[in-house]
């Protein structure tokens, strides 16, 4: 880069700024008085932040399995229902309960969002197939499509968003389980009614015979 001599200009500047005022000696003291006190950087803050993040992750992991656990929610209701009705139930009802339990397990495993990266690898259907399926099927049939979509989204978000999304998924999962529970309760209720009707009919027949 060219450096100009311009001696007149240099001399003019030298004369003009020859007597630059000096910074007062007590400048630092005055500055410290008016400035906020410096605080030592709290190194433990980083550790606390890490610990908090670990706690959140742990809490999510602890809550997660119970959300889709076959032993909880609908299944518990089922077991309870099974216990109360077991004594006066016919063998057909037990079969029905078993088949419903199978259905619950299936729905649970479908609705549960697995650890994201593993889940993404497990996704077998291509996007195109899933979209086609979603277009032609009903809302309940296209659940697979939405679950795959959720898995893909979760794989792409960062940690902070991931936790928030997971909570939303958990909330949606609860609603899904309520739908399944209602279905199970209705089935059981219908079954119990038909069973009672059979018993009543049998009793009447016996009376008639007498």
């Amino acid at each position: 880069m060219t450096t100009y001599q311009d001696t007149d200009l240099r001399e003019a500047l030298r004369r003009k700024y020859a007597d630059t005022p000096q910074l007062p000696a007590d400048f630092m003291q005055r500055m410290q008085k008016s400035a906020p006190k410096p605080t030592r950087r709290p190194k433990y803050a980083y550790i606390a932040a890490l610990a908090a993040a670990a706690c959140i992750a742990f809490a999510v992991l602890m809550v997660w399995p119970t959300n889709g656990d076959p032993e909880s929610d609908g299944s518990k209701l089922l077991v309870q229902q099974e216990r109360t009705t077991k004594t006066d139930r016919q063998p057909d009802t037990t079969k029905l309960v078993a088949s419903i339990q199978e259905t619950i397990k299936h729905v649970d495993t479908e609705s549960r969002v697995l650890p994201v990266k593993a889940a993404v690898h497990q996704a077998k259907k291509t996007d195109r197939q899933l979209v086609e399926q979603a277009n032609t099927a009903s809302a309940s049939d296209s659940l697979d499509y939405y679950i795959s979509k959720i898995e893909r989204e979760l794989a792409q978000v960062d940690d902070s968003l991931y936790i928030e999304r997971i909570h939303r998924v958990m909330h949606a999962d609860e609603r899904l389980q309520r739908i399944v529970n209602n279905y199970i309760m209705n089935e059981l209720h219908k079954d119990a009614q038909s069973h009672q009707a059979t018993i009543i009919n049998n009793v009447k027949t016996d009376d008639d015979e007498e």
Binding site: Y4, T7, L9, A12, R15, K16, L23, M28, Q32
Partner: protein, 182 residues
């Protein structure tokens, strides 16, 4: 004698000692630069104080690879001072000044005209300096008075060296034209 890196580390650590070291080493330099742009000494002191407070709070953004600590402080001071001047005295560029931006004088010719050694020219230049806008005056003082290379000036003034070279040419040319009008 602490190095710049040690001072920066001390300030990052949050102790008063680091701040004290930084002010005692660079306080006068920063203050002098501001005082050349701001006529009132009290304003200059206040701006110096703001510069250091800003530097302490933004010390994490200091990159030793880009500039020395002194240059970085001058950059902060420059921007704060310009903001201050804009608030207190809007810079108005007279239309007649724009006219002299046409390039019809060579660098060599300008250098010859600004290096005559004639007393009346030097005195006249001293007066003309006051009429320059603050950023132009600062460029002259950084380059001619403090002998900083244009690369360093470009960091302080947040402009490319090429743009500063053009600006310097225009300032010299403007001064030359005004000297011709005497």
């Amino acid at each position: 004698m602490k190095t710049d890196e040690q001072i920066v580390e001390a300030v990052k650590d949050g102790g008063v000692r680091g701040q004290d070291l930084m002010v005692s080493r660079y306080g006068q330099q920063v203050f002098a630069m501001i005082a050349r742009l701001v006529s009132d000494v009290m304003d200059a002191e206040e701006l110096t104080q703001d510069t250091f407070l800003r530097a302490f709070s933004k010390i994490d953004s200091y990159d030793a690879q880009r500039a020395s600590l002194g240059t970085w402080l001058c950059r902060i001071a420059y921007h704060l001072t310009l903001d201050f001047l804009k608030r207190h005295r809007p810079v108005i560029v007279p239309i007649e000044n724009c006219e002299v931006w046409q390039t019809d004088i060579s660098d060599e010719q300008l250098e010859a005209e600004l290096s005559t050694g004639r007393e009346e020219r030097i005195q006249r230049l001293e007066v003309l300096m006051d009429d320059l806008p603050p950023d132009e005056r600062l460029l002259l003082t950084l380059h001619y008075f403090e002998n900083r290379p244009l690369d360093e000036c470009s960091f302080i003034m947040d402009a490319t060296p090429h743009a500063l070279a053009n600006r310097l040419y225009r300032i010299r040319r403007k001064l030359y034209k005004q000297l011709q009008n005497i």
